[in-house]
């Protein structure tokens, strides 16, 4: 199986979907002539033309509204928001229109819209360019939110998102674009939206993660295995709908859980997971559910402060040790 980057997987998939379905079109800032700020749409405008790969003005609310209308009339727009920080300008279009039209107008129109955007911070992009807002959208009924962690999942979920008849927020990650993984060629696979994956089986503790934090969790699980700690890693892949059964089944097996997310802790994805676990697996818990998340500050520009504000492998290891505390099995 060929090994390609996350970026390449997205680029390939967008190209394949443009070729497969004439109703698919791409829209966004600098995605055509400039080939995308992060080169996700590289080569697509020259291949499919300016009608199918549309460069928009810097006006997110306007072009998300435009895409919503186009979707209602049968097109399948895939909108790039350069980073999730800029999506706030368009949030009224997404939350008050795209997510509700099918419901409020008696099912007369569907909105097969994809908004893809990288979330989270990388490098020194400072407070307004390093945020994670996927929970804002996962909060909203009428939207679907996916956040793949690997090139394979990115491809399978992008296909599903484009072919889905409801608006899908497709969360990418700047830090994942250059990561590599196996992706089959000439295989039109899709991944169902709303299904998590047990990425690694373990017996002692469940780590729930998504997007880049899944990569962190997998590394930590590998390291802790040397100490005899068996970590099960769940990659959510989809934040709405949330695959609660997979989480619950895992916790019923391991009796302990840690949730790791890149965004701020309060009111986050981790809070939702922790609440779900206590609701549905209370009698199986042997320790409080631990949350690992970012420090609740506007992300500092200074490199060291920025680093210290973000959750990392050591934070996850510490949380796992907290959750395992008192169990002799792991201390000997």
């Amino acid at each position: 199986m060929p090994v390609i980057t996350y970026r390449q997987a997205l680029n390939d998939t967008l190209g394949e979907e443009l070729a497969r379905d004439p109703n698919v079109l791409l829209m966004g800032e600098e995605i055509g002539k400039f080939q995308g700020s992060y080169r996700i749409t590289e080569g697509l405008q020259s291949e499919f033309g300016k009608q199918r790969v549309v460069d928009t003005p810097i006006a997110e609310e306007g072009f998300v509204g435009l895409a919503t209308g186009a979707a209602m009339l049968g097109l399948r727009p895939v909108v790039e928001i350069m980073t999730i920080n800029f999506i706030l300008v368009a949030i009224d279009q997404i939350v008050n229109h795209a997510s509700k039209i099918h419901y409020m107008f008696g099912g007369q129109a569907r909105v097969p819209l994809v908004i893809r955007t990288p979330s989270g911070g990388v490098g020194q992009l400072a407070a307004t360019h390093s945020q994670s807002f996927e929970n804002w959208f996962a909060y909203c009924p009428g939207l679907k939110v996916v956040a793949p962690a690997t090139p394979y999942d990115a491809k399978g979920l992008m296909r599903s998102a484009i072919r889905d008849d409801d608006p899908v927020i497709f969360i990418e990650s700047l830090a994942l674009y250059d990561t590599k993984g196996e992706v089959p060629r000439d295989d039109d696979y899709t991944l169902p939206i709303g299904m998590a994956e047990v990425k690694r089986e373990g017996a002692d503790i469940t780590v729930v993660s998504y997007s880049r934090m899944t990569v962190v969790a997998m590394q930590v699980a590998q390291n802790l295995e040397k100490e005899g700690i068996s970590v099960e890693v769940i990659d959510l892949r989809s934040l709405r709908p949330l695959d609660r059964p997979t989480i619950i089944n895992s916790v019923k097996k391991t009796n302990r859980a840690v949730v790791i997310e890149e965004d701020w802790r309060s009111y986050g994805i981790g809070a939702e997971i922790a609440a779900t676990i206590q609701e549905e697996a209370f009698d199986y818990l042997d320790a409080p559910v631990q949350r690992v998340a970012g420090v609740e500050v506007p992300l500092p520009y200074a490199a060291k402060l920025s680093q210290a504000s973000k959750p990392g492998a050591q934070d996850l290891i510490n949380a796992i040790r907290r959750a395992l505390q008192g169990g002799k099995r792991w201390q000997k």
Partner: protein
């Protein structure tokens, strides 16, 4: 409130020493901060806190080596140590007392002052009754994970009897899984189903098979360590009681006069039988200090009650063993002791008849000794020293009378049991001997 435990820093590490504390009690610590240097068998490594808070208490001083998994410090919320420790029983109590025990072992004025400042929990000697082994009283909310609660419910386990090892003494799944009912008389009859072959259970059989070893609580371990510090080897304590043997003397005479027993029953036979019956109620004294397979100190409860009787030889001493003493009739016990003691004096006792004791009785009454103490033969947990029965003025129902008093002294391995248990055992022994009919049934 969280315990910082000796971490496992390498594959081969089984214990580590605190090389240097980088924080002192009262200092704020942050999750991930380096708080100490740990010396392993291979290298000096940094110890990270994985809890934010205040370093409440250092349990293991610099230079001391402890096994991995043992608590070495407590990180709390910054409240004064005593106040913070007060609401929680269980492990915190044990932890604070461990600190106390070590403090007294250090024996410095500072340490003494420290120990005196910790009045929140009772001293180890005032041990709670065996039925409340986790030190939590019945009307307190017991800290247990939801899972442990459900498992205990399903298995009919009383959470008050379970020692929690989770943070703050919380009872967790593995505490329920490894729980063995303590001090329950029901455990003793189970011995009949699996009698250990005599030869495989020699007197110095420690360490016992791991499955039978109950790990010591931290409090128990702290007591064991502190006692061994002051009395290396087996730290003994001695508890003496006076028993009115009038009824026993009368019963003995009746048995002899009636010819009910082929062998002449002795006072000592009655004491041996009564000891075995009392041990049924106090199995802690029918056990051995040992270490489990993983090297942790523990207590091996013996499945059988085998009382040995010290027999003086011309220049020495042997102690033949009466197996399953609790199950044998008085006449059988008397016969076996007479037979084995006779052969011992002739040098014809077999080695296997001297092995497998779980408790010992020494009697110097025939030499008119009123009271003495005996050294516990390892690895037993206790031995009983029996004095002469002598006529002494006693007060009965407010009137002076002639009593037949006997002094008994129980020597107890203080690592395994405390004075209160010894005293309760002697109460039971006294009850049995003062109402000796119970020895016949």
């Amino acid at each position: 409130m969280a315990e910082v435990t000796m971490p496992r820093l390498s594959d081969t590490m089984s214990e580590g020493a605190v090389g240097r504390w980088l924080k002192k009690p009262g200092d704020a610590v942050a999750d991930g901060e380096i708080i100490a240097e740990i010396e392993t068998d291979k290298a000096t490594m940094e110890l990270q806190a994985f809890e934010s808070g205040t370093l409440q208490k250092i349990l293991v001083p610099e230079g001391q080596t402890v096994p991995i998994g043992q608590a070495i410090a407590i990180i709390g919320d910054g409240a004064a140590p005593d106040e913070a420790a007060a609401p929680d029983a269980g492990a915190q109590q044990a932890a604070s007392e461990e600190g106390g025990a070590e403090a007294s072992a250090r024996n410095t004025a500072e340490a003494k002052a420290e120990a005196q400042q910790a009045p929140a929990t009772p001293a180890p000697q005032a041990a709670p009754p065996a039925s409340q082994s986790n030190g939590q009283s019945s009307d307190e909310r017991i800290k247990a994970s939801p899972l442990a609660r459900r498992m205990a419910d399903e298995r009919g386990i009383d959470l008050r009897q379970v020692q929690g090892t989770g943070p703050g003494g919380r009872i967790i799944k593995e505490n329920i899984e490894s729980f063995q009912p303590s001090a329950a008389p029901t455990t003793a009859p189970a011995a009949t189903q699996a009698p250990a072959p005599a030869a495989s259970q020699p007197a110095a059989a420690a360490p016992a098979p791991a499955g039978e070893v109950t790990p010591m609580s931290r409090m128990r371990r702290a007591i064991a360590r502190a006692m061994t510090d002051s009395q290396p080897g087996t730290p003994h304590i001695y508890v003496t009681a006076e028993i009115d043997m009038a009824a026993a003397v009368k019963l003995r005479k009746q048995i002899i006069d009636s010819g009910a027993s082929e062998v002449k029953i002795s006072i000592n036979d009655l004491v041996v039988k009564a000891s075995a019956k009392a041990l049924l109620k106090f199995p802690t004294l029918n056990s051995s200090y040992t270490t489990s397979a993983d090297g942790q100190p523990g207590v091996a409860r013996h499945q059988q009650i085998n009382v040995s009787v010290a027999v003086a030889l011309e220049d020495g001493l042997v102690a033949p063993v009466v197996r399953d003493t609790d199950k044998k009739a008085l006449g059988t016990i008397a016969g076996e002791i007479k037979d084995m003691a006779g052969r011992a004096r002739e040098g014809k006792i077999k080695q296997n008849e001297l092995e497998g004791a779980t408790f010992q009785v020494s009697n110097l009454g025939m030499f008119d000794v009123v009271e003495f103490t005996s050294i516990i033969p390892a690895p037993l947990a206790a031995s009983l020293s029996v004095g002469v029965v002598r006529q002494t003025p006693v007060v009965r129902n407010g009137e002076l009378a002639v009593g037949e008093l006997m002094y008994v002294t129980l020597s107890v391995d203080h690592r395994v049991a405390d004075g209160a248990t010894a005293a309760q055992f002697l109460q039971e022994l006294r009850r049995l001997l003062e109402s000796p009919m119970s020895l016949l049934v």
